[in-house]
Structures are given as structure tokens and as C-alpha cells.
Symmetry: C2
Subunit: 378 residues, 2 copies
């Protein structure tokens, strides 16, 4: 019998927390950054490199996998861990967010959402029960409730309608999850847009239903960083203290550290790989756009002291050449650089919280990024 899901707080520093999430496939150290393996693969990066970067857990997208190769096929092949050969923890989202963002035609009703597949145009129904059944078939360690995510800015009435619908779906997901395998966990998702009264109502209602963890959804969807951090700062403290808190789809290293300062434990984002493919490296010195001409003859590595071989061993001139020449290896190497850097930031954040100096670490990080940034060039 696999280990059950469990969360243990190990240190706090202000609102910032460190902890450990035990799952059937291993322990996740928090604060944790989850690289995004949309279609059961981290774009352009070998699993071994993802693991060596320090990732304890991956995120995979239910929407994509239910369409291709299908949850039933993944289950027949032994589940997602076996299928993609990632024997470590995996979180799956519910598919709801991609239905909203990728499907041209969709209809939200009480029962669930009906949408046209972006692959073959087939009409597909995704109910709370189906979202859970799919995630049980995939066999992820952490499943997410189906929710409706509203793009900001939006009318309060629209935000409230979606928040209330998401709460009713949360209850149905909880019931459907009684069929889950031993050890699997289910997180609820707080909605409510940028309205703090709605956020608080959502958070309290979800806590009353009772989940293994709580996510903040409906952020990083068009609002400013200030708005996002205000919502995070006012919502995180009213979530159950003994459960992990997950800020979905966020963000830059600065976003993440600011959210950690406000009590968030888990993050996922496509930025390290998407920006890497486009030539943008995240480094201790701020972002570096390797395609800029002034790197063409620069024999220095991105970061001679990095733990990441790609950041340490290849010159900026060579990386620049790979992008100019259209060699996919360039995007792969910068994606790896970024995945390492994100994990380094998480490890440093954990160490700083443990040592009770997180506020100093946050201020130093901002100063270092600003001092040596060449963001202006990009």
C-alpha cells in the first residue's frame, strides 16, 4: 500500500512556510516549483534533466492528455507515471483552464462544460465527475477539482457566478473522488477574481467541504502583479494552515518569491521552458536575452558558478549562435538553464525561511536582479 498523502509544516518565517508533502511517489519539498509537462513531456527537455534540476514534482494537463492519447490509454499503459517514465510525484490540473483558453467553442452549464476539441473538432463534455475520473485514470498524486476560471477584468456578477458554480463543482468532485486510489489527493480551487469578499467566501466554503490542499485559481489571467499579490496576501492567511497552498500558473521568480512571502507553498508555470525556447534565460543577474547581438562574441558562460552544466559550460556566444542558426538545441539548453534556476530559487527560499531570514533573501534577490539585469535590452 502506498504512502498516504500528508503535509507537514517544518518552518515558518512571517507568512512564509517550508514543509513536506508526502505522496505515493515521494516527498515534495515546499515551497515547490512544478515544471509543466503539458502533454506528458516537458517541452524540449529530457525527464532526466528535469529531475536533475531539482524538481520534486511535475504538472501535467488533463485537458491535453484526455484528448491525446486519452486517459483510458494512459491507464491501460500503467498510468501517467509509468507511461511517461516519471516515477516521482505528479499533479494534474482538471482541464477546466485549458477548456477556457484553448477551445474556440465551449458552453458552460450547471452540469459541466461542453467544448470542441482543438485537435479534431469533436464535441466533448467535461463534468466534475468526468474530470475526476480522468485524473483517477491518469493516476496523478494530486488531482484538482474542475472549476470555472474568469479572465480579468470582469464584472463582479460574472466573477461571483463562476465562483459559486466552482463551489458546487468542488462538492461534486469531492464525492466523485471517493473512487480514487489509495494515497491520491484532491485540491479545491479558490475563485473570486479580484474581489476579496468573493475570495473569502470561496475559501471558507472550500475549507468547509474539506480538501487535501487549496489552490488559488483565476490569477495570472490578465491582472497586474499588484492585484495578484493583493489577492494572494489577503486569501492565503485564511486558508487552513495545515494544508498546502498552491498558486496556479505563477510566475516569474519575483512573483514566486513575493507569493511565498504571503504564505504560498506550490507553483507551476510554463515560463522557464517557454522563455527558454525563445532565447530568454533567467539568471541570478536578471533575465538575459541571448539573441541580442552583443552576446555574439562573449566567451563567458551564462553563470560560471551555476549548478547547471548548460549555464556553466557553454559560452554565451555559442548559445547565441544556436538561436541565430535555428538549432533546437539552443532552446533545450536555455530551458534547462531556466529549470535549474527556478529550482535554485526555491531551494534558496526554503533555506532562507528555515534560517528565519526570508525577508532579507527577498530584498537581496530583487536588488541582484535589478543591479545586473539586461532586461532593458530584450
Amino acid at each position: 500500500m502506498p504512502n498516504p498523502f500528508a503535509f507537514r509544516l517544518t518552518a515558518t518565517d512571517g507568512y512564509a512556510r517550508t514543509g513536506e508533502i508526502a505522496t505515493p511517489h515521494g516527498v515534495v519539498r515546499t515551497p515547490a516549483f512544478m515544471p509543466v509537462g503539458t502533454q506528458a513531456a516537458i517541452k524540449g527537455v529530457h525527464h532526466d534533466d528535469v529531475r536533475e534540476s531539482g524538481a520534486d514534482i511535475l504538472l501535467a494537463n488533463t485537458y491535453h492528455l484526455m484528448l491525446r492519447p486519452s486517459a483510458e490509454r494512459v491507464a491501460a499503459l500503467g498510468g501517467l507515471h509509468s507511461f511517461m517514465r516519471w516515477p516521482h510525484p505528479i499533479l494534474t490540473d482538471s482541464g477546466g483552464f485549458q477548456v477556457m483558453s484553448l477551445s474556440a467553442l465551449r458552453k458552460v452549464a450547471e452540469e459541466g462544460v461542453t467544448f470542441r476539441s482543438h485537435l479534431d473538432g469533436a464535441m466533448i463534455a467535461l463534468t466534475p465527475e468526468r474530470a475526476i475520473a480522468v485524473q483517477i485514470l491518469l493516476g496523478s498524486d494530486i488531482a484538482m477539482q474542475l472549476d470555472e476560471c474568469v479572465r480579468l477584468p470582469a464584472e463582479r456578477s460574472e466573477i461571483e457566478r463562476a465562483m459559486q458554480l466552482s463551489l458546487r463543482w468542488a462538492e461534486r468532485c469531492k464525492r466523485a473522488f471517493e473512487n480514487a486510489a489509495a494515497g491520491q489527493a484532491l485540491f479545491g480551487i479558490v475563485q473570486g477574481g479580484d474581489d476579496q469578499n468573493l475570495r473569502e467566501a470561496s475559501a471558507r466554503a472550500l475549507a468547509a467541504i474539506g480538501f487535501d490542499g487549496y489552490a488559488l485559481g483565476g490569477l495570472a489571467v490578465g491582472e497586474t502583479q499588484d492585484v495578484m499579490l493583493n489577492v494572494v496576501g489577503e486569501t492565503a492567511p485564511i486558508l487552513p494552515v495545515d494544508k498546502p497552498r498552491y498558486l496556479m500558473g505563477v510566475g516569474t521568480p519575483a512573483d514566486i518569491l513575493e507569493a511565498i512571502a504571503r504564505g504560498i507553498d506550490m507553483f507551476d508555470c510554463v515560463l522557464p521552458t517557454r522563455n527558454g525556447r525563445h532565447g530568454l534565460a533567467f539568471t541570478r543577474f536578471g533575465p538575459i536575452n541571448i539573441k541580442n547581438a552583443h552576446h555574439a562574441e562573449d566567451a563567458r558562460p551564462l553563470d560560471a558558478e551555476s549548478r547547471c552544466p548548460a549555464a556553466r559550460d557553454f559560452s554565451r556566444a555559442y548559445l547565441h549562435h544556436l538561436f541565430r542558426a535555428g538549432e533546437a538545441l539552443g532552446g533545450t539548453l536555455l530551458s534547462i538553464v531556466n529549470l535549474y534556476y527556478y529550482q535554485d530559487v526555491m531551494a534558496e527560499a526554503r533555506a532562507a525561511i528555515t534560517a528565519g531570514r526570508f525577508a532579507d533573501y527577498l530584498a537581496q534577490s530583487h536588488a541582484q536582479w535589478a543591479a545586473k539585469s539586461d532586461r532593458q535590452e530584450s
Copy 2:
């Protein structure tokens, strides 16, 4: 002072030979397969994987590198080994073949070839002297003479004209190479199309000039395998026995073993990586087209007994999914599978020659590829 270039025969079995090429950057075991790093990168594959596959030496393309980032820039960055961070042997071609195949507008004259860059339309002159100067700047361990390669079939008069011109360019390259760094080697290229009299005249004239090794050029350019192997079989034995023999741009594993049987020591080809990107895996059981639907639920790896982690650890179903989903990781993994398989074939060939059983190995390989091939499906 680096080791000088040297070739030592270690065993023969019929016409097949094993040997060792000493270069300033290490030893190349022959028969050797050189993965192609056109633009100072193996497409989609990290250098470390190329090395771990068993490659002793890479090929890089002078044509591409002289256009971007330029030989002068590579030299300023410490030469090609340092630039691309491949501290092992490198062979560069002369650029002549790509001028013929990639440049829309070109003019061949006694002095050299003038062509329009496929990148920016600039008119560029490539003379024998410039081809050598570029390769000296790149700092490759083995440089190739500039030659003119004629696509087959062609008129005998045209083949002869190009062969004679290539011989005059060979002499000029040899003179220009007096400026080479210590240890660098220069190979001559036998031309003559499918005309054995011309091939023989070319081979004898090149041997009289004297090179560190001899290549067969102008093959794998449209002729049948029979024609190619006939030329190889009749030309290789008249090349100097104490120098390496290199069959340029060849080929499939079957082509390579047949050419080894005829006395060839070195090969290069884009097939392992190009076919890998397109979903074709070379295996002990013959080629496998992973995109075919019947792999979609096949939990078996490509080859459970392979030395290659990608061939051993991922299911055919997962690799199939990566290609169907358009994930670049699929092409990367199959390229790695193919690079390992090519190196396995070379290692097995060397062992068979050493043991005096190369003919048996050749026959067994053909039988194994034919018995379990799913070539018909592709």
C-alpha cells in the same frame, strides 16, 4: 605540442580493416561513424549524449560555419572545439558539397566557386586556398580539400572535367595547408563519378600528391546502392593502404557495413538524426516507424537490451505519443536511439574484423534486419 596525426592499422579481415587515427584531440577507432554537426551542433541532441553514444569524432560543415557565425569569429572564440565545447576530434568538410546543393546561384571557375549565400544573398568566393584557410581558422583535426561534386547520372565529359578540376584544387589545397597548425591533417577527395577509369586516375594522382587520408566523394548523390558499392569496391583497394579511407555522406547501416567490407574506414551521414526527427528508429530488428498507429498501445521499449537509455526506458507507446503530439522530445529521443545504434554497429564491426568473422557478421546483420523489419509499414 599536440600529438601529430597518425593512422595505424590494427587488423584486417578480407578487405575490411580496423585501425586507430591519432589526432590532436584524441584517438578515433576505425571503422568510425561521424555524426554530423552541421552548424556546430548535432540537431536536437546534446553533445554529452553524442559522446555517450560512442562517437569518437564529429563532422562539422565549413559552408555553414563560414557563413554563420564565420570562421573568424569561431577562431576568436578559441576554435571550433572550444566554441562548441566538443574537446574530441572534429573533421570539417570543405564547403564544396553544400555550395553545390544549397546555393541557388553558383559559378565554378578554375579559380574556385562563387556562390550566393542561402542566408542573406551575399556573393561569396570559395577558392581552394580560402577553404583551407577557413578550416585552419576552425581548427578541425581533419580538413578536406575543396572539390567539385557532380550529381549522378552525368555525362562522362562533365564528370571528367570536374574530376580534373578537383585534382588541380587538391594540389592548391595541399600547398595552402602548409600554414596549418601542428597536428592538423588534410584529406584528398577521389572524384570520377561512376566511371572506374576516372576514379582510378583520380586516386593515383591524389596519392602522388600525398595526403593524410583519402575520401571517396561524389557518391550517395543519386546513384543506386549497387553503383555506389561497385565504385567503392574497385577504388578502395587502389588507395594507399596505410592511410584512412573515408566514404563521404554514406549511409544506412547496410551501406556502411558493405563499404567496410570493401575497405572503408570512415563514414558520416545525417540519417540517424534526420530520420530520428521524422520518427524512424534504426534498430537491431530493422527500421521502426514509431508514428505508425500499431505502436500506440505497445508498452515494449524499442530494444530492451540496448545500451541506449532512450531505446530501453521509454515505451513505443510513449514515443508514438510524443510524435503524434508534436513534442520535440520525440525527435530528440529517436535521434539518440539512432546515434547509439550506428555506434553499436561500428563497434560490432570492429570486433568482428578483429575476430576474423566480418563476413559472418555482415550476413547475420542482413538476416536480422530482414527477419524482423517493419520497413514495409513505413
